[in-house]
Amino acid sequence: MLIGVPKEMQPGENRVSLIPADVKKLIGLGAKVLIEKDLGHNANFADDEYLVAGAEIADARDEILKNADIILRLRKPPITEVGLMKPNSLHISYLDPYNENDLTEEFRQHRITALSMEMIPRTTRAQKMDALSSQASLAGYVTVLLAAEKLPRILPMMMTPAGTLKPANVFIIGVGVAGLQAIATAKRLGARVTAFDPRSETAEQVHSLGAKFLDIDLGDTAQTKDGYAVELTPAQLDIQKQTQKEQIAKSDIVITTAQVFGRRPPVLITKEMLAGMRNGSVIVDMAAETGGNVEGSTAGKTVEIDGVSIIGDGNWANYVACDASQMYSSNLFSLIEEFWDKEQNKFKLDLTDDILHSCVITHQGEIVNERIKNLNK
């Protein structure tokens, strides 16, 4: 079976979907690997490392798309490239299926089996393939670094002959994978960390990292079986905003990671809350790309409002492209290995398996994923 890995097209994307170490493992399984030239360059993996690992380097990008039985990518493909692919081949990457209806449709028409990494379930068993988690946790680390560097103060406390520098207050909204990692990193740097999340069980998780949890009584909040939050009612959102206000005002750094899977992220910080913050304070809006938790945040750049810098870069994991690639690549390998059929040396696509069942979007010209199908109605 031929596994093909084309370069990422998105400008500024340094991550790579497959690293040499995993190439080796795939070949160990009995697959052949064909990669595009300079595949890992931006993530500091040289072509000859791939060659040593046993991959072949294609002369042209099309060659990969045409011949590969499995295409591995990180970002969703340019819609134009779907047509070039071999029918009934398997395409694995982020697909953002909730929003990319055309792309899904394209896959369906060309009878490509499209597997969406976002849709990997959050079960204990599937964790090793869970790219959202792996990338999110790196993202959490990055956001803190960016904020700390932007802040005109230091995070830790310092009692010095030149007076005492108080520890910086960091407030983290949304305690998912990214949020937790952000808490851990900020704590490491010696900041006073407070966090909030509507999912009640997160309180314990926050304490388990030595941080404070901001108690807000929202009445009952639900969570999907995958551990995702369910959207809050407008009423609940208001309560939350009001209560957070004061905490935000006294924070030097606020990091918002609030996401509601498949929905537009909630707006949690309004212009006037910004006004309440000290000059020089920093906000990181992890949700900026998908709409933003902060009023006025701009995807892809850092803006300053009322003396408060709002970082909305997005694609956070890309800052640590090397590690991010390693983890994503490892996620892909685990996925393939899990369903690899040693005898026939091929990927066994068993849609009854609960993992594949929830992450395969299109198959043999059908949209097989329930959620997405209902979406398009």
Binding site: T124, S137, A184, Q205, S208, L209
Partner: protein, 454 residues
């Protein structure tokens, strides 16, 4: 009279020396001096006894002492360090035999009341058990006899019958002391009983048995003391008897066994019980956990989300250092999904400044699991759940886990029997080699750490 007074005062002195001796034997720093002290006490006791007005003839005594000393010295010199326990068993046996003989001889001493007769029988009985028991123990340790437990139906009943028979014979004897026949029966049966109680025990448990028999030999001496009405025997014997029990108890704990379980449950058969004991949860106290850890030489710590919740990382680090100082090797096995975020455990362990070199990945830890005396599961649950290895029907079947259940002993530190994130039962908690150390992880480990004090 004056003479006896003097002798007895010396006995007091001897007793004091024994007391100090025993106390000091208990701690490494003073142990050697303690042994010396008690030996001095012994010297005094023996020496002054020679002035006892009842002693008319010394040649036999001298003969006996010389022979005994020669054998003793030779044995002590000759024996290899590794063979020490056997040696102790033998010596203990000879002590028991001596008590038996003294008791026997006491019959022929002038005055004898019912009371003394009873004590005489006791000294013979206990002495006999000690002698033959120690002898068997020696055999098993030195592999002259197979170390395997010898088990057959009705063993317990047989022992019971033996005991009853001995009592009967004893009563008969007290009624007609002039008839030595019964005494011989008592002797014979005692020796037999000694054998019977030890054969069903596996070689591995012999040290405990010896320690117990040692305590018996103390009691034997004590009984003999009553028989010939000699205080120092009573005091010294009682001291050894009591402290012996405590020591036995401690040794059991270090082997993660209970004394009662050794004393009554037909010894070796414990293993079967344990083997069949699936479904039974066995809690353990921090103190008992200490005894096991203190005698372990390879310890694996498996942290989980609970460690984080309890914020126990610092005290875990301290435990690690104490164990290392105590000569043990300590490693941490970190499961990739332990905790609630990737690298959760790393954050905590780094905070406690646990060296990165001590962290084993699951793949490194599992192959060498058998080599660990203790695996301490601290607030982990799903990641050590054997079901995901053995039970196809389990929702987490297929997730690789850390196979702590293959370690010699497993401690699981958690607050209750509650399940973890995956919300599923964990059969690990019911394995025979698992002990549950209930309570907040930080508290529990804190108490264990404090057990290391003095």
């Amino acid at each position: 009279m004056d003479n006896t007074l003097l002798i007895n005062l010396c006995y007091v002195a001897a007793a004091v020396l024994f007391i100090f001796g025993l106390k000091e034997l208990g701690s490494p720093a003073t142990a050697r001096r303690g042994n010396l002290l008690s030996s001095v006490g012994m010297l005094i006791a023996v020496f002054v006894t020679l002035f006892d007005k009842n002693i008319l003839d010394f040649k036999w005594i001298l003969l006996g002492i010389i022979i005994g000393s020669l054998i003793g010295v030779f044995a002590a010199r000759a024996v290899a360090m590794t063979a020490m326990p056997e040696m102790v068993a033998l010596l203990n046996g000879s002590g028991g035999l001596a008590s038996l003989l003294v008791g026997f001889a006491a019959i022929f001493l002038d005055v004898n009341t019912t009371f003394t007769y009873i004590t005489i029988i006791l000294s013979i009985l206990i002495g006999g058990i000690t002698f033959s028991g120690s002898f068997i123990a020696w055999g098993k340790l030195s592999e002259r006899i197979s170390g395997k437990p010898v088990l057959f139906g009705g063993q317990q009943i047989l022992n019971l019958i033996l005991v009853l028979a001995i009592i009967a014979a004893g009563v008969m004897f007290t009624l007609q002391p002039e008839n030595l026949f019964y005494i011989y029966i008592v002797i014979g049966l005692s020796l037999l009983l000694g054998i019977m109680v030890v054969i069903p025990i596996g070689g591995a448990d012999m040290p405990v048995v010896i320690s117990l028999l040692n305590s018996y030999s103390g009691l034997a001496a004590c009984a003999a003391g009553f028989a010939i009405n000699n205080i120092i025997l009573i005091v010294a014997g009682a001291l050894v008897g009591a402290s012996g029990i405590i020591l036995t108890n401690i040794m059991c704990k270090a082997m993660n066994r209970s004394l009662s379980n050794v004393l009554f449950s037909g010894f070796g058969s414990v293993k079967q019980i344990a083997g069949t004991a699936v479904g039974e949860v066995k809690p353990i106290s921090p103190e008992d956990a200490y005894y096991v850890l203190e005698s372990a030489s390879n310890v694996l710590i498996v942290p989980g989300y609970g460690l984080a919740v309890a914020q126990a990382q610092h005290v875990v680090k301290e435990l690690q250092e104490l164990l290392e100082k105590n000569g043990a090797e300590v490693f941490y096995a970190v499961h990739p999904v332990a905790g609630r975020m990737p690298g959760h455990m790393n954050v905590l362990l780094a905070e406690a400044d646990v060296s990165y070199d001590l962290l084993l990945e699951m793949e490194q830890a599992n192959p060498r699991m058998e080599t660990f005396d203790v695996a301490m599961v601290i607030g982990a649950n799903d990641v050590v759940n054997p079901d995901s290895r053995d039970n196809e029907t389990s929702p987490i079947y297929g997730m690789p886990i850390i196979n702590v259940d293959y370690a010699r002993t497993v401690f699981v530190l958690k607050r209750s029997m509650a399940s973890g994130f995956a919300g599923i039962e964990n059969p690990l908690f019911f394995k025979p080699n698992t002990r549950m150390l209930f309570g907040d992880a930080k508290e529990s480990i804190g108490s264990v750490v404090r057990e290391f004090g003095n």
